[in-house]
């Protein structure tokens, strides 16, 4: 997984509340065999409008998405974070996120930043014209206008994101214990091993 440190870039001022995972990636795109390439189906309904935010040249390559309350609710499909990542997003800033989506996002290296609505509004106003910086180490979002918005994050998730460690990477560090268990299993319950 790509390590996350400090990210400065264009933010897409999306802002809609209760955006569900069906809206992020409709079911008809689920018969895929890769995590990549889902960007073409991301926000498909919205993007039928040619003037949508996601395809506007100004937002090309934007790594930051600013969203509304309860982002990612609905079906548990892991395709939602895959689709966002494929569109180029590395972080989403919103007042709140749906639970399962938050877990899936973390498992796929997508940083979710929770900020109060007033600060989101301020970022929305700036986003169109100026770059925004997300500093994970210091847990702060900054703007060129001296705004400093601190955010909270679970220390375990922070460490994983900073180190580019996915859960598999972390578990692999316990290989000694896994191998010891495996050897014991072979001795004690050979039919299972």
């Amino acid at each position: 997984m790509q390590a996350f440190d400090t990210l400065t870039g264009i933010a897409v001022p999306f802002g809609a509340a209760n955006v569900d995972t069906d809206a992020i990636i409709p079911a008809r795109f689920l018969k895929t065999v890769t995590r990549t390439g889902l960007g073409r189906g991301a926000f498909a309904a919205l993007r039928e409008n040619p003037d949508n935010l996601f395809d506007s040249p100004r937002n090309a390559g934007a790594p930051i998405l600013i969203a509304g309350d309860n982002f990612g609710c609905g079906s548990s499909r892991e395709h939602a974070p895959w689709a966002l990542a494929d569109l180029g997003f590395r972080t989403v800033i919103a007042p709140s996120f749906a639970d399962i989506f938050a877990g899936n996002a973390f498992k796929n290296g997508l940083l979710l930043v929770v900020l109060p609505q007033a600060q989101i509004d301020r970022l929305m106003a700036i986003a169109g014209e100026h770059e925004i910086t997300v500093d994970l180490e210091n847990q702060v979002v900054t703007t060129p206008f001296q705004d400093r918005f601190a955010f909270e994050i679970d220390p375990f998730r922070k460490a994983c994101l900073l180190g580019g460690l996915d859960e598999i990477g972390l578990t692999t560090q316990m290989e000694g214990e896994i191998a010891a268990y495996e050897a014991r299993l072979q001795r004690e319950r050979p039919w299972a091993a």
Binding site: K31, T34, E78, F156, T171, I178, Y181, E182, R189, A192
Partner: protein
Amino acid sequence: MSQQPRTLYEKVWHDHVVSRRDDGTSLIWIDRHLIHEVTTPQAFEGLRIAGRRLRRPDLTLAVPDHNVPTRDRRLPNPDPESTTQLAMLESNCAEFGVELIDIHAAEQGIVHVIGPEQGFTLPGLTIVCGDSHTATHGAFGALAFGIGTSEIEHVFATQTLLLRQAKTMEVRVTGTLGFSVTAKDVALAIIGRLGTAGGTGYVVEYTGEVIRDLSIEGRMTVCNMAIEGGARSGMVAPDEKTFAYLRGRPRAPTGARWDAAVAYWRTLPSDAGAAYDATLTIDGSEIAPQVTWGTSPEDVVPITGRVPAPDSFADAGKRDAALRSLAYMDLAPGTRLQDVAVENVFIGSCTNSRIEDLRAAAAVAKGRHIASNIRQALVVPGSGLVKRQAEAEGLDRIFTEAGFDWREPGCSMCLSMNPDRVPAGERCASTSNRNFVGRQGPGARTHLLSPAMAAAAAVTGRLTDVRELMG
């Protein structure tokens, strides 16, 4: 010093802890991993991108089932996307050294049918699969549960999962079942009492005389639907029936290993006095054949019942849900379930596609014919071996003579990822496990019931009390 009495789940959990972490989670060893074509491609891709190997291919078994066509398999697959997923499964298994039961093998079938059939499923094991009905294997006293794609990749790479220990719930079904009342009716009655979220956070252990008296296949049907009550796993303590079912299966242990295994399996049942975090008791002798009326498995009533009025629910959320369900199902409150006509019948899915299910349905179909309003009546065996056994017993002829369609094994109309669909606006009497909106096709209206009840609906053209037909 004597040890505290423990439940079946606590014993299996304890024997699989690789390491305990400070945050309350444990790294748990996974004994068996079943995989299929739909939820694995991205997990294999993840391994490839990270340059990781699949740690224990010998504990992994692959079979295509979710989107395989159930008509003649020698014909080209009509769906290019499904063709790609099937080809990916083959090439991924070859690349990572995983054994594949391919689409043309006699043993091919639904993952949850072939695991037990092959003796891949054994008591006391941890078993995972990227499908939420993995609890089926709990019928053998295994701890079995469904996982997502990231977790599949985690198991591929490490043969472990990071988990938090669940709470325990005992669902005790007492007494004896009445005439023509089956494991499916027990499963539905339990969900009716528990609600779809009642088991959330729990591992359920099914106990009581009714569960003891059920066949192994019946226990699989009950455990299969644990997730519909919100529980990720359901379990039944292994007993002599369990051992008899497994002895001699292709992947079951043999000789001295078999004896050692049985000795261990006998230590697994919950100790006398073991405490559960919650208990639900149901009188099995009061369970009638069940049928669902709505779009959630908890929307269930006895076949003798009527469609409930939304106002009869105390909870406002439930009232709204019932209103939406009735609109989708096109049913009026107060309608007798037995007056509801159906156009489609599906006998199959990992809930009810084993030989006993087919026998029960055939017993009803025998000497009768599907009603004139039935447009499709599919019988989809759970595996090639079930199909072959049924054909040896002449069940296929009973079905075809009665007007049913006898198909190749797979998930089929349980989730309609293949061409088997219920047309929009039509009803289906289905032995599967989910009556969700659109599950059997966009606009499809599902009524869940047992195989005998499904066959009864096929021959009368409406939801029918099988006891009247057979009595």
